[in-house]
């Protein structure tokens, strides 16, 4: 908790905080994701800045009470810009011993633990692997532990609704949520509304959950009187005027690509195959049929992208979504889209690898795969998404480039921002300039690889157009006629033109900006993708401490912004911070012969601000 300002004299005095990190942790079946997301809604409506981090296992329902079945939801919220879900929780809400075991190490020293002592039975302790009860030894002595029998009080609160034991216990999360809402002064009504909506067909369940929510809230009020618990106040975050909502990375990206297709005046056709953490894009777009979106859940990753390419060939905007392992399967088809020069949007929501890796944990280790991972010289455009809201702009930009230059564009996001929510000032769609696609119709002098001399894009002639019948494929094409060609010089020429087309897109991209700090100086921290928040906060703190450090964050991974070389060379030192073992670092070194320093993290968890702060201090120390 930062910015604590009150005196601890009076039980019902409210402590003011700038920001606080709360982590809800329980069994997969305890409904922690729902609790966290509902708390986020209540928090957003209260006008806080916020960033969330759902952290759950790959197993749908691991055996109850085990450590590998622990599911957690972290939220950082405040009256100040938070940018990340927070390095370490200030408050840990614990629903069972396994959750304590898994999450305690990360709790801030002296942090608060709110726990359900009713769940600390001998059986649950054993399942979690505790040899002695941590509530009875001194292992929690340097934390502020608030124990209460949430299980018992929940059962009590919902008794009158006649639910079975199992259903009664499922209301524990709402009881806990009620207590947290009271602690942080968030309103209950939005939660009540959503419970009534969610359980419209099961009014008993709805009412029981609401009763549990109210009981948790009432418990706070009562406990306050006995000085056991206290309330905290967080001022509203001063945001720009406008209408806001919360959005996660998958949502903003789905909407962004759909927005792009609307601006391009093209029907969007998604070919996809379910995979964590990319499936929500398929779900989101499947629900937007009124916009003419077609979603094709194919038999595998390969058929999914082939369907998308077929759609582009036929004059729609093809799109495919996946994660690293699925992108690997799509690789050959991506090569075909490059060779036939068709527009295509490829979304890679990265997860920890290699192979199956850690499906629900985050990483940025598909950069090589995106930029270089194909047979032959096969350049494509690669863009990255920096935070939960950024996907909207990136999605539109991807469609603009794909259609203007007749090229596949790969968008890299990752499991962290895919699921993390942030407040978003909702844009007005009418403010975006349309870029309608013009299909080729002129038969005079037509051949399928006729190029625009400026963009080098080939013409897009769709089946159904009289007089433009043509055949394309993965075999090399003659530069002048578009027919199959095995000619050596022609292959050189075609390889060169495919490369030149992609390189040239750098001239149609904004110059790389410095997101914080100045051009030139002692140190720049370079990042891409979801590390934005952590780097942003670390650089902000360092600059506040008077350190000469800047933050440069890339959206365009390939081609690189045309001023990036000069920009990076304007600093004495450059740190590349990324969640892989040095992929952007290698890319920048290879392109610019620049002696960059790598800050790598590959633990399946996002960067902590402190990890970047330390790297900044270390690097400036050396150069001082």
């Amino acid at each position: 908790m930062s910015g604590q300002t009150s005196q601890e004299t009076n039980c019902n005095e409210v402590t003011s905080l700038d920001s606080v990190v709360v982590r809800f942790a329980g069994d997969s079946g305890d409904g922690m994701q729902l609790t966290g997301s509902q708390f986020s809604v209540a928090t957003a409506l209260e006008g806080s800045d916020l960033s969330t981090f759902p952290d759950f296992p790959a197993e749908i329902r691991a055996p109850v009470g085990t450590t590998f079945g622990v599911s957690a939801f972290q939220i950082n919220f405040g009256s100040v810009e938070v940018s990340t879900a927070g390095d370490e929780p200030d408050v840990l809400v614990i629903m069972n011993p396994a959750a304590l075991k898994v999450n305690l190490a990360n709790l801030r020293n002296g942090g608060m633990i709110i726990l359900d002592e009713g769940a600390f039975s001998a059986k649950n302790l054993k399942k979690a692997g505790y040899e002695s009860n941590p509530l009875e030894d001194d292992s929690l002595s340097h934390y502020d532990v608030k124990r209460m029998d949430i299980t018992k009080m929940t059962v009590e609160a919902v008794k009158e609704y006649g639910l079975g034991k199992k259903d009664s216990l499922r209301c524990k999360n709402m009881w806990t949520l009620g207590l947290l809402l009271w602690m942080f002064g968030r309103k209950r009504q939005p939660i009540i509304d959503s419970l009534e909506q969610k359980f419209a067909k099961k009014p008993d369940i709805a009412q029981a959950n609401i009763a549990a929510l109210n009981a948790g809230h009432a418990f706070g009020e009562t406990a306050e009187m006995s000085c056991n618990l206290r309330r905290y106040h967080i001022d509203k975050y001063k945001e720009e005027p406008g209408t806001y909502r919360t959005v996660n990375g998958n949502q903003s990206l789905s909407w962004g690509i759909l927005a792009g297709s609307q601006l391009a005046d093209l029907q969007l056709i998604l070919g996809s195959y379910p995979i964590t953490p990319a499936s929500p894009l398929l779900h989101t777009l499947a629900g937007l049929k009124e916009f003419g979106v077609i979603t094709f859940q194919a038999e595998d990753e390969i058929a999914a992208i082939c369907g998308a390419i077929g759609a582009s060939f036929a004059g729609c905007l093809g799109m495919t979504t996946s994660s690293g392992p699925g992108i690997a399967l799509k690789t050959e088809a991506i090569g075909l889209a490059i060779s036939t020069e068709l527009p295509l949007i490829i979304v890679d929501i990265q997860r920890a690898g290699p192979s199956t890796g850690l499906p629900t944990k985050t990483e940025q280790s598909d950069l090589y795969q995106a930029v270089w991972g194909r047979n032959g010289d096969a350049p494509i455009v690669v863009l990255s998404v920096s935070n939960s809201t950024d996907g909207f702009e990136v999605g539109i930009e991807a469609v603009r480039i794909a259609t203007k230059y007749m090229t596949p564009v790969m968008i890299l996001s990752d499991g962290y921002i895919a699921n993390a929510s942030e407040p978003w000032k909702i844009p007005d769609f009418n403010d975006y300039e349309p870029f309608p696609v013009k299909f080729h119709t002129e038969t005079e002098g037509f051949q399928p690889f006729l190029r625009d001399p400026e963009t080098l894009a080939r013409v897009w002639a769709k089946p159904g157009t009289p007089g433009l019948m043509h055949r394309i494929g993965g075999i090399e094409k003659d530069y002048n006629s578009g027919h199959i060609s095995y000619d050596a010089d022609n292959h050189q020429k075609m390889t060169d033109v495919r490369k030149a087309k992609i390189d040239n897109i750098a001239n149609d991209m904004p110059l790389q900006d410095v997101s914080q700090g100045t051009e030139g100086g002692k140190l720049a921290v370079v990042g891409w993708g979801s590390t934005y928040g952590a780097i942003h906060q670390a650089v902000k703190r360092a600059r506040k401490d008077g350190l000469d450090v800047a933050h440069v964050h890339l959206r365009h991974i390939w081609p690189l912004p045309r001023n990036l070389n000069d920009l990076l060379k304007s600093y004495d030192k450059v740190i590349v911070a990324e969640m892989n073992s040095g992929q952007l670092n290698t890319l920048l070194r290879s392109q610019y012969l620049l002696d960059t320093h790598l800050l790598s993290k590959v633990s399946g968890q996002p960067f902590k601000i402190s990890e970047i702060t330390e790297a900044i201090a270390e690097n400036l120390g050396e150069s001082a």
Binding site: V41, L45, G47, P190, P241, T243, Y244, R245, T246, W255, L258, A259, Q262, I269, G271, L288, K289, E290, F291, G292, I294, F296, A298, E299, D300, I302, A303, A304, I305, C306, G307, A308, I309, G310, A311, S312, F313, A314, G315, C316, E332, A333, L336, K425, I426, P427, D428, F429, P463, G464, P466, G467, L468, M469, H470, R471, I472, G473, G474, I484
Partner: protein, 340 residues
Amino acid sequence: MNKLSEITKASPKDFETDQEVRWCPGCGDYAILKGVQMALANTGSKPENTVFVSGIGCSSRFPYYISTYGFHTIHGRAPGFATGIKLANPDLEVWLVTGDGDGLSIGGNHMLHVLRRNVNIQIMLFNNEIYGLTKGQYSPTSQPGLKTPSTPMGSVDAPLSPCVFALGAGARFVARGIDTSLKELPQTLARAKEHKGASFVEIFQNCIVYNDGVFDEFTTKKTAKDTQIHVKHGEKMLFGKDVLKGLHFNADKMVLEVVTIGEDGITEDDILVHDETNRHMAFMLCELEAPDFPVVCGIIYCNPAESYEQLVHYQLEQAKQAKKADFNALLRSGRTWVVE
């Protein structure tokens, strides 16, 4: 009836391209190409509304030689591309060209699903029981014992029957033809085109270089009448030089038998009538193999249902009618708040 007069005007030549055909001299693909061009002309296909999609292999070079739109894609994946094309524009006439390797080995999975989904396309599987373009390795339809560069001691793989596979996958149109039978093949292809949904046509195609004569047992013109049977819906399944042989259903053993009218008290009443809507019968017909049985050609199964892309587009229309597409409203759906 202006349309009809247009149809009669089209000629197979209208579907030829200026590309030099690069199949081996004497390859069965030449005859099939001719048969397809005839079928397109006869049925009034419009080059600008027609797309040929293929995978990889000798057969998959096909699109380059047809003057429609064409997409030569990647190995085994043509069904995915064809599905995308039909979803994007259901009005296009889409033909898929594949082979026994492309369609049943590397692309077996996709073949299964495009048939099951019932995407309204025509699939022509050129079966030559060999890998031609990679120089003669055995394929999933090769006979056991076949010696090839990759099976020097003979293949030990059990072969697959393409039509049985298609029926098993849920295909609602299954037919067979022979590359050089240019009387029947265009008619079979015309029926395939007429059928709404996925049409599967296996075409026996002779690979003159790597598997020459593999189908001679039943394709040799001299003996063809005794080794082939061309089935027609509602007609007795008779064959043979004197048209006295026929297929009889032995109900006790649940099998088909070859009988001869006039022998062992067999009369025409004992001969089974072809019912192309009967899936069980279709399975039995597809499983008949030479030399004990005639090889069944023609329309073996035809039982249409609504196609995949049609159902997808119905849902789009329903959704559009139920809800107005309003992007700003979408972005503001759910909980929002205003900062003053």
